[in-house]
Amino acid sequence: MIESFKQLEQIAKDRDLADVFLETDEQEHAVPRDQILEALRKRRAVMRDCVERGKNGGLSMGKLVGNEAKLLNEAFQNGKTFLDPLTVKAELYALSVMGENSRMGVIVAAPTAGAGGVVPGMLLALEEERKIDQEKTVRALVVAGGIGSIIALTANISGAAGGCQNEVGVASSMGAAGVAYMMGGSTRQSIHAAALALKNTLGLVCDPVGGLVEVPCVKRNALFAVHGLTAAQLALAGIESVIPMDEIVEAMVRIGRALPRGLKETAEGGLATTVTGCEIGQRIKDEANQRRAARAAERERAAQERKSAIK
């Protein structure tokens, strides 16, 4: 079992990082590597499918988001975007996946649903723009998952445990390592890509408006997909994190503990308690109560009908 990033770097120094992760996972969990790869091929396909479905937009469950992917796609198709195509696609695909997620569509939690747009945004955009073989993307998913599994030895991967740094931060870290791997980077560069991405999300709070995975989650996934690409770019140029990855993860856990409860997914602080956030939160509560009352009335009516039918 690989217990730390320090150990990972020693073991995987001159080896293919995906192979090392497949090997250790096979030993640890008794799942054959072919089975892991096959499952990840399917997951890549689900991600791809989300991107296609999500591009068309559509209103979310809480009705706070929905058109982001559609708008960006239109701008891109009409030549009205100013960033390079890789960056725009990373944003677009992240928005597409998150749109699907907000409509209770089928997605891949990577590592969580609320942060599920970051990794596909980065990896699928890169695959397309650089014409990289799909199988390489699948292996990059192994790398991203492997990085996440080491982080998860120390940290709970949830906003409730440590804020958004534990979700979107971890996702951008995993994705950055995957991108560095896809671009032919070394194990050391992949780990530093992960470190640079994670380090610069520390302190990010989870303050969802109305308690929904909509605001700021959907757009945040797009922004942090680009953040992850930047981290990979720096690492591939040989720029390294002064603080080692293991220590960054420990810092993240400490920061997560220090964060007040109101900033850990409870919707009792931050954006959720701004004037607009409160208004939206109240509206969502009212609507939920109305729906519940309507359901209760419906049940009551059905019970009455049954009673009178018996008579």
Partner: protein
């Protein structure tokens, strides 16, 4: 100092599951907790009561945790597109569903206690959805445990007596099945006891029959990996 988890989560756990949105901890994890309760009950539920720890009670509706918990409790998988309709489906099946708030103590924010009843049996499960769809069940029918649902598992309810563990593990060994972990707890010496055995490969019906036939075993429940 940071607490290290005793077991590494797999690549597929991190890069997954494939699930119905919008939240892995509030939708996928809670659906799996509901599913654990359903699998332990081992029959169609008639009544399911969910007792949500306050932080979960504050956030569950917006994340569709109510659909997910109920979906799991009626046997739906986390990637089943019917999850958004789970409450309606459960009502059509005639299942009584209740949601309550309950302080469950010093536990993970996303923790729930589930009471589930069928025609013949009832069961109680307390567990947390710790993120990314990963769960930790720490109480089953009043017994302390540590159940993650990530491997085939044998749950055994029996009367505490010397030799029980060796008799059970001998049958499993004879099947050439490797035990990944074993956890025992009891309410009182010589009284009700509980054993959880996580195994690397499925246990045959024949072996399960032999275990059930052991003296003082009141109930054995074999659970596959919770999808």
């Amino acid at each position: 100092m940071t607490v290290r988890h005793d077991r590494k989560v797999s690549i597929l756990d991190v890069m997954g599951p494939v699930m119905v949105g919008p939240s892995s901890s509030h939708t996928a994890g809670t659906a799996r907790l509901g599913r654990v309760a359903r699998e332990i009950l081992d029959e169609d539920p008639v009544t399911v009561r969910f007792y949500l720890h306050p932080p979960l009670a504050a956030t569950y509706r917006g994340h569709g945790s109510d659909f997910a918990l109920v979906g799991g409790a009626i046997g739906l998988n986390v990637d089943d597109p019917r999850i958004p309709e789970a409450i309606r489906i459960a009502e059509q099946m005639g299942v009584n569903i209740e949601f309550h708030e309950e302080d469950l103590g010093e536990v993970h924010p996303n923790t729930v206690r589930i009471e589930i009843e069928g025609e013949k049996r009832k069961a109680e499960v307390v567990g947390s959805s710790i993120g990314g769809g990963v769960i930790e069940v720490f109480k089953i029918n009043g017994f302390q445990t540590r159940f993650k649902g990530d491997s085939p598992t044998l749950l055994l309810f029996y009367r505490d007596r010397p030799g029980m563990i060796s008799e059970v593990t001998r049958i499993i060994a004879e099947e050439r099945i490797n035990i990944a972990s074993l956890y025992c707890s009891r309410k009182q010496r010589g009284k009700d006891a509980f054993m959880q055995i996580d195994v690397d490969s499925p246990i045959s019906d024949a072996a399960l029959g032999r275990i059930c036939a052991l003296a003082d075993v009141s109930e054995a429940r074999y659970l596959d990996r919770i999808p």
